[in-house]
């Protein structure tokens, strides 16, 4: 019953974010090619497509709205500066963009002199909407997600955030983190097993 409900809930999300479709890939390839040549409209299209996912990944890593906004901005500014030198054969576009994001996050922790540890905000205002009860519930859920993810090891957190937060495939995650697919799968398994204790404990 629970499984059925979950499947129903996720089917729209999955159909938009996770289905790898060859024709979509060729469309993206075309958009990226135009952006490389300096087409502003094409770059804006890529921005629309990836912005939320980049933000979500960064937020899961830093756990702070203001920092996540700053870092997401920096990711796209860097991408705009570097897109001219991007080459398909080296890295799929999503992996390239998320590698920029990953490096920004790594730099952020290094500059702050912080050990990579998610700092949860006291007052989360991530969800906007007209139903205050639903908003409060969602904010609680997000808090729970952040609390659980901060208990993972940095490598597990990277994989879980990229895989389930940003919706990348194992192959793409492997390219972003420069790890083998086997390692990514192992980190995914261990990360999910650790999350299970926290997220399903009260179920």
């Amino acid at each position: 019953m629970v499984a059925f409900a979950l499947t129903i809930n996720f089917s729209p999300l999955l159909s938009f974010s996770y289905i790898i479709d060859i024709s979509l890939m060729s469309i993206e390839r075309d958009v990226v090619s135009r952006a490389i040549k300096g087409d502003g409209e094409a770059f804006a299209q890529l921005y629309e497509e990836h912005f939320d996912r980049i933000y979500r990944y960064v937020y899961l890593k830093v756990g702070n709205q203001a920092e996540a906004e700053d870092l997401t901005q920096e990711v796209f500014v860097k991408a705009l500066e570097a897109i001219g030198s991007y080459k398909w054969r080296d890295l799929p576009f999503a992996s390239w963009l998320f590698r920029i994001a990953h490096n920004q996050v790594v730099d952020y922790f290094r500059k702050q002199g912080k050990v990579e540890k998610v700092a949860l905000e006291d007052d989360i205002t991530l969800v906007s909407g007209s139903n205050p009860a639903l908003m409060a519930e969602r904010e609680l859920e997000i808090e729970e997600v952040i609390n659980s993810v901060k208990k993972l090891s940095p490598a597990q957190r990277d994989v879980i955030s990229l895989r389930f937060g940003a919706g990348l495939s194992v192959a793409e995650v492997a390219k972003v983190l420069e790890k083998s697919m086997g390692t990514v799968k192992a980190l995914q398994y261990n990360g999910v097993a650790a999350l299970k204790k926290m997220l399903l404990a009260d179920k």
Binding site: F4, L6, D52, Y55, Q73, S128, Q188, Y189, V192
Partner: protein
Amino acid sequence: MTRKIEDILDNCLERIFKSESIEDCLKTYPKQAPELEPLLKTSLVFMQRSSTIRPDPRFKARFHSQLQAMLYAKQEKAEKRAKIPIWHRKWALAMTAILGFLLIGVGTVAASAYALPDESLYPVKLAGEQVRMTLAFSDIDKAKLHIQFAEHRLGEMVEMARQGKSDEIFVLTEQIANHLDKVYVMEETAVVRGKGPQTLPAPALAPSSEAGAYSKGRDAEELEAVLGQSRAKSLEALRNALDKAPEELKPVLQQAIENMEEDYGRAIFIIESGSSQ
């Protein structure tokens, strides 16, 4: 061969992402189902909850405008660049390279200005002097440069004396003599060519058969004055160096002073006598 649980989990996740249900996947792996089911549920719960993390729409819109401005500026720059013909850009690139090369070269020459004979930049300093000599417009200018370079060698000699380096003092003495010899040769040439203001024919009785044949001109007077000042300045500097020098260096310096008095004296005498007859 038994598949690893990590691979099975990933396989199920991919199938669920493609709209299969958890039950369908568990049916494929009945042995692993008890372990797999909570892991799949956990993954979906995490995805569902994290999917509600979204940027503030106001921030997104604000940054979108900023990005549009940046894109516009970038496009404008690219268009301006495209308007410049390729040969123009190549030319600009070549000029930049030449300028860079010259700046490095000028920088090295400038850095060599204070180089001493035992330093690596000293040959650059001498080469720079050679270039100046080549570029000098007239023979009189060249003669003045020889006096100036003789003073440079003297300054170096004083510093070498301070450092107690007698070999360099000896070599520098020779170089000063060489420069001073060229002063009157240049002056003679100038007069013979008629570039000097006095171009009267010379009588035979003169220290130099050619220089002595001409009457005194403005350039010769000037050269004589410059030489006189240079001699006074140089000898004073060397005598000061002699006073401060260690005993073992004094004979070398004393000899240098005597040689220099003689060299300056000869140069002045030739110019003076050559142009006064």
